[in-house]
Symmetry: C2
Subunit: 312 residues, 2 copies
């Protein structure tokens, strides 16, 4: 794999004035002296981290931004728990400049550990949640189930009341990067819809992998410049929560299609691809699905080429 | 830059049984239904994230593990706040398979947000701390001070009572990776000393950049197989805290040398290189310092070559 470069940046955030916090006396390392730590003052909070990889042979003018789901970080794109390459590799190999992002308060973006900024406590998943909620343990699952114990090591805490800050982070990245494509998973889908609407036309194509959120329907016209692909896995109907979410997402898609938004649906079982979990970027056929997405993006960005995926 | 590969892994950690925590009703996304979130059960905590880059042309048999300082993550090696390449690039370009690590509870390693695992609250730095404590704002500083506002975006919370868990994470990585070299900064130095001692001979060379911690003197003989380079910047004497820390580190080095440990000291001002801050991997002459370190490593791993840096 030849890279012209890689690196990272932090974008966005804001200055927060903290006061009234207790001064602690602490020894930060075993060679340090006990030191008063006064946390009062100006903190920079809610910045967002993104890591980028630029192929030597860039074949697409636009970069691809990958936005992870809840309880996860950009690490979910970097490889699979059973040791295969991730979707990040797939897109870089195909000539995409690719950004792997950590949402605000996730991973290398850090978090403000004071109730003055985030009032609530974060949520941390017990190990069995993902097994159930991500449809990993279902019959015929394509998830590498023997590596589930490795997968849970990458789960991180998340807050539930930080949507506005996370969206601001993604908008700061869009403003920094400029025209681009966005591939978002699960919780990331909510921010991808909203960010594309907030910057009409800046997101030139939007791929949503089992999105768990929706855009602002009253502003649906702002999505008209953006072709959208929604990818759904298997087994949702057998799981009450997944089925209800899928129904709400499908109803939303129908309504924004009526408003003139160009939405393709890739329902994997309808194309004979069965067994995919919510974490399809880690499933045993992850390369096949990445290929379908990359084909769709390539087709949508080069109108002369045939569509790799037909609208459902 | 040609890479044979890159990716990441999570190592270590342990199962923690949490009970008695309140069940919250929360709507995780704007398309989700309010859901009871029961955090009780088995959590995997204290795993550690490491991202690796393998050059196409590997020129050293051993990988290099880079361990960041307090309040930081592996992002500190990936570039400078004024947009230059980082030490990660330097070592990969010179043929090192390089691991950029996030300590336990830092960055993509995640953290257990419950007092049952980490009893204390984390520390988050006000923006001015690093300016003062890392000697960034001193006269003649080589830090890219105009980009200080960009730098503070990468600061993340840290705990002060998590040393044992962090060390276990690094040991899990050593056990996974095998023989290697370690380059550690500041707080990372404490873990590097202790990890090298806990696995005598596994760390074949140890580079400590302004370490803020020390090893276990009663076990100094376990460091004898490991040549050590300690790199110190400028201006420490003008800062009371830095001067006191430096004195304790120097006294420690003298004692372990007496115990037969092979320690080279690279005092940058003594070599005519002035103005380096505690964050010398981000300073304007960061490439020069990386080069001195890489020369030392190359010399120590290829005894036939002349030493690039002489003991002070």
């Amino acid at each position: 794999m030849s890279l012209a470069g890689f690196g990272s940046l932090h974008v966005g955030g804001r200055a927060a004035q903290l006061s009234g916090l207790p001064i602690r006396i602490s020894q930060l390392t075993n060679a340090g002296a006990p030191t008063p730590l006064d946390p009062n003052g100006t903190h920079w909070v809610e910045a967002m981290y993104a890591q980028y990889f630029v192929p030597q042979d860039v074949r697409f003018e636009l970069p691809l931004l990958m936005w992870h789901g809840g309880g996860l970080t950009g690490a979910c794109w970097e490889g699979t728990p059973d040791g295969r390459e991730g979707w990040l590799h797939h897109f870089v190999r195909r000539g995409w400049t690719t950004f792997s992002c950590d949402a605000v308060e996730r991973g290398r973006s850090g978090f403000p550990p004071v109730p003055q900024v985030f009032a609530e406590a974060p949520v941390h998943q017990p190990a069995h949640w993902a097994w159930e909620r991500f449809r990993i343990g279902t019959s015929g699952s394509r998830f590498p189930v023997d590596a589930y114990g490795q997968f849970v090591k990458q789960l991180v805490p998340r807050w539930t009341g930080t949507d506005d800050a996370i969206l601001r982070g993604y908008l700061a990245l869009l403003d920094e990067v400029g025209p681009c494509c966005v591939l978002a998973h699960s919780q990331g889908g909510q921010f991808a819809w909203l960010a594309a609407q907030a910057r009409p036309g800046l997101v030139r194509a939007l791929v949503l992998v089992e999105p768990s959120g929706v855009g602002d329907e009253s502003q649906a016209e702002h999505l008209r410049p953006t072709p959208v692909l929604v990818v759904q896995g298997d087994g949702q109907q057998a799981d009450e929560r997944s089925a209800a979410l899928r129904a709400r997402i499908d109803a939303y898609l129908a309504r924004i299609r009526s408003a003139g938004v160009d939405v393709d649906a890739l329902d994997l079982p309808a194309h004979g691809i069965t067994g995919n979990s919510h974490m399809m970027m880690l499933d045993l056929n992850s390369e096949q699905i990445a290929g379908l997405i990359a084909d769709w993006l390539g087709a949508r960005l080069s109108p002369a080429a045939p569509l790799g995926v037909m609208p459902a």
